[in-house]
Subunit: 390 residues, 4 copies
């Protein structure tokens, strides 16, 4: 049960790159990091416009001197201060994730970064190597994975309730971009521009979320090969896809599918994860994240609810409020952030093994997302052929 | 509104092959055909065991002389009678559909046949040619298509409510055969034996249902190529699959997917059809067939209910009871059968154009189902490659 | 499993009063009675207009001589025939139920009657006495009770799964008459006219359905006192109510509520029955009658599905088709009718005890519905006061 | 859109009474108040045990000198400081709400108090008089009302979408206390002890929530009379009820019902509000608070989703994250608290009219809840009779 008592020794001095005035995701990051005092916002390079960035930071209560015109200046100045930030969050468009994260790591900072971590697997592996060498944490904000029922799903698989896993069906298919709304929406525009978004739109922006969750739930499955078909139903988005389907074969003989779309007209999120085993299945839907459906063949379907004593203890650990009360996206993100904080402290204490059982999307998850998108794009661009996964 | 008043001039004298003692599907056929007096059961070759078949027929009130030991005897005797049957229903295992239907057509009988119509497209085309030449109807029991909301879905597509169709997602994935239950269940055993079932299990047995419905809803889509991946999770079923995924590309640029399974553990039917257009989507689920979900992008999702005046008139035509009351599978099958009867009468009157607008699964639907399965199997057996659809 | 094999020795020769041209409920009665050959329609007084009634009967295939101008003529003629009808269904407006049923019983006929059986308890008891004296069956068409999950609910209560019953919440509250649609709808008009409908509208027309179901599920509860508040939101309907709420106290200390309405705007049926015990609850909803929700305190909610082997054997007895396939209202009504037939045969054989365990809404249920409405009206008309139930 | 930018001029210096170690509700209060910097926790009397209270406060980062042994000491000391707290939250058992709130008001503090505000209407009116005289805000934590779809519901009623309101159906009926769990649960024990809980259990603890929401949605309805029936199914709880039903008549001719229970075995929350008008209905359920069901008679039911542009602007004002993402209880509580802060600032500025349109549960809502419970108890204890509402 989370009750506001901080589990780390101290609040982590923290800064942000991006996430300034008008940024919705910046607010989500701050809400999650500041919850329960795990992080303490001390510095920021919030905006490409330095004045606007400084004004924004001051409004948040920062020292004006620690509101920087750009991330380079921030990393230089903060690493020179004895009370400088220990961690930075990168909440900028995709194309900047790699250079900013790299610079932060080289400046000795832990990093919390939006996905996708980079455009290429090579870049992601470069970050992984730097982080490993310097003992730094890179947290990737697969925020949905902070919902407690994901933990329950993982435990049901781990304890054999479902039997041998056979099928993984993933979906994240909304309809908000059924038309070329990017004409009027700057927040959408960069997502469909390869210069800013990278090699994919919905595969990277949406599909990697349920992909990461599937990895949490089924840690033993390794993709052997995959095939992707992608479309740009709003033609001006080509080569970036607004719809894609991926088939996966795992090394155990299990199979998977993933449908991701921004043109699933009329749908809200439709992020769903269904895992089918030889004995039963689980299904989770992010629009009603406090429930998990458990279906054992030959038994009535069961609706599991967050916070109930029948859940595995690990699925109860992050409750903030009793069963029946809904928790939402902000709570899930906050769950990620306290784990990031625990990991950071353990790394600073040179005792990462102390958080060995801690489940959070770290650098390996970041690398995996990039690698998966890369394979999908390669398959799709070759006409929808099977590509071996390596 | 269907109210028990028969729309044909007379009840059609009718016989059955198979569907005898212990057959569930035989009961479904009789319930549907006899509803409202469209068909009049006069003869049968109900069982491989002639005595048991005769006893069964007599129990149903048939003249013992018209309870035949086999279909050959029945077709010969009945076609010699002035009051002989005009139509026969074939409710036998898959491997016999082709020879029995062929013999019936050659004996001048209209046929109602279980799917799949045949094992090969060549055989199906042979039946189509014979039926066309003789002016006979072949009805194929894609029973779910008789639900009224399918008609509403078709009208919503036809009137442009959804915009241009982009995506068709099909699913029929139950979990009843997650284990090798065929060891104890004769009704399941033949379905996983290629000698009786043909080249596929779930693709033919399950997936062709939503495939046909998709064709009703989106009559303008033509498959250009497809790719199928199939698995035998219960290994003893190989080469027949108990799980498969199909990707389809249509000539309009639309795409489709189909997931079919008998090992979706814990699921009941999970037959779902979702059609996504540029403006909105519809979704139908066979377990709650009286509802249709309509989602227009930017508007609240709407739940349409059978029988309501806001539906298209054609979707109201087959109501048997007011809105709010659920209709079920038997009612849907009965809807198919009265259309079969209307088609038969029109053909006998040599006026098939008189029922030109009548929607029912005829020989073309039968051929299409066989052709689709054939392509799926070819793709899957080549390793899951794209095959052109012809 | 119902498979079309009749369980009675013979089909019951059967007639109808009312239910002629344009009658929806007449079609429902015929569909249910003729299903599987339990009844054989031989005579009718279908219409107040004799010619129209005769034409209707002839269209149904009846002997013109057995299409009667009125029920009196029918009962007289049929009881004089050696092959006369044995049972008659009364599908006329409420005000005629009592005289017609009485006349039928006096003519020695078993009766199947629409509810409410009569306007007053005294009349209902009169019918009960006559039926008892003559050994005749009176079946009352509480059709929803034929759904199989009602049987499962009853078994879950009987075997103690829910613990001691504490609360019964009933609801049948649609919105179709939110406005004064009776101006344009003759089928609605008589229902809101006391001369034809009796002392109540929704209490008798709707609420007695879940009331009967509650009695099936909780046979041990006896109402001790009740209180009713009723409203005529469409003022022209007064004194008949289009909305009412009833509070009930049972002799065990359990309590109940019932909300019934025809002005629950936008709702379809909303017929729901929830039974709460000390350990758990069940909830059933007639719009999705193939499911039953079982909630045991401290365990995940369970969704039970019709046809599944985990159900009580008695809840499986009336399946007509495998699990996953929806059955509907017509199937539920047919289930009632085969039980009526079994009861009739047992009574004719002077062995009513032979069907002692047979669950069907008989004369006692008919009496109880009338008595309950009478008490509700008395309470409401006194200003919504508690009235003792006797 | 809420984005972390504080709308008040300053953070409000704030203290707490109760809500210390082990208190779940204390954490909810702090999470809500501290979100986005509206309140700044400066003092507390967290615990009956002064040492434990001080340790708890210090852990939260408070000055040890401002961790007080009791509320009297806190109010005295803080009101003497130039930088003393301006507002205090009362998160203690029910019996202490009145004296603490009274003392706080007399010390010149704004108050945020758990419901019920007091045990009697006289006490509540006393607080109202003091608050009015001194220009102080009393906020009552009807937290569910902070969900945005409540605002949408209110707007749909206000703009006439539903027509004239006829029926209000309220429900808050969980099953967590189906057994006498208070034996093992101190948090439950005081709630069923009249000395601590006051004259009611579920009426005050649960039912006042949907009652307040109904008032927000239907501000024009005034209760004319009501009737309550209450039970103690766990007998040791008597005279406090664990189940109750209330009938209400409004001065417009509309009627209402409320079912509240702690023994609705197997149910999670089941807090539902349904408002029925002459044209349509709305229904909201607190377990899925981001949705609102809108049913217009004769049209398909609509599912409205939080954050969508089709909502009324006022229902979009409090979004923290885009549509599709679920918000939860903590977000709803935070919404209440920023409104409390706005109200407090306006009162301190002696310009309450500046927040005239601001919707929050203030002292009037607190009085109304107490008054309603008082009437319910009086009705129930008289045997379930109608009592005039005054």
């Amino acid at each position: 049960m989370i009750n506001g008592t901080r589990l780390t020794k101290s609040a982590i001095r923290w800064g942000m790159v991006g996430g300034g005035k008008g940024s919705q995701i910046g607010y989500v990051h701050r809400s999650a990091a500041l919850r329960d005092g795990y992080f303490d916002l001390k510095a920021g390079a919030f905006d490409l416009d330095p004045d606007r960035g400084r004004a924004f930071g001051v409004d948040l209560g920062l020292d004006p001197d620690r509101c920087y015109p750009d991330y380079g200046a921030m990393f230089a100045a903060e690493s020179a201060r004895p009370d400088g930030i220990r961690c930075v969050t990168v909440a900028t468009p995709n194309n900047t994730h790699y250079p900013i994260t790299r610079a932060a790591l080289l400046a000795g900072l832990h990093v919390i970064c939006e996905k996708p971590l980079t455009f290429t697997t090579a870049e992601a592996l470069d970050l992984q190597a730097i982080a490993a060498e310097r003992g730094l944490v890179v947290g990737v904000t697969y925020g949905y994975s902070g919902h407690q029922m994901i933990e329950e799903a993982a435990r049901l698989v781990a304890d054999g309730t479902l039997g041998e896993i056979r099928i993984v069906n993933l979906q994240f298919a909304h309809g908000f971009h059924s038309q070329a709304v990017e004409g009027d929406s700057p927040a959408t525009r960069w997502r469909v521009d390869p210069a800013f978004a990278g090699p994919s739109y919905v595969l990277g922006d949406l599909a990697t979320h349920p992909l990461y969750i599937a990895g949490v739930i089924c840690p033993d499955l390794r993709i052997k090969r995959l095939l992707c078909s992608r479309q740009s139903f709003v033609a001006s988005r080509a080569p970036l896809e607004d719809n894609a389907t991926v088939l996966m074969e795992y090394d155990t003989g299990a199979v998977g599918t993933c449908w991701t779309s921004a043109v699933n007209a009329g749908a809200m999120h439709s992020q769903k994860v269904r895992v089918v085993g030889s004995k039963g299945s689980i299904e989770w839907w992010d629009e009603h994240p406090n429930q998990l459906r458990l279906e054992i063949q030959g038994e009535p379907a069961r609706l599991l609810d967050r916070g109930m004593p029948y859940l595995h203890p690990q699925a109860l650990a992050d409750d903030r409020i009793g069963a029946g009360h809904p928790e939402g996206l902000f709570d899930a993100w906050a769950n990620l952030h306290y784990r990031f904080a625990l990991a950071i402290e353990a790394h600073e204490d040179r005792d990462p093994s102390g958080v060995a059982g801690l489940r959070y999307p770290g650098i390996a998850a970041g690398v995996e997302g990039v690698r998966w998108v890369e394979h999908c794009v390669r398959s799709a661009d070759a006409g929808g052929v099977w590509v071996d996964y390596a």
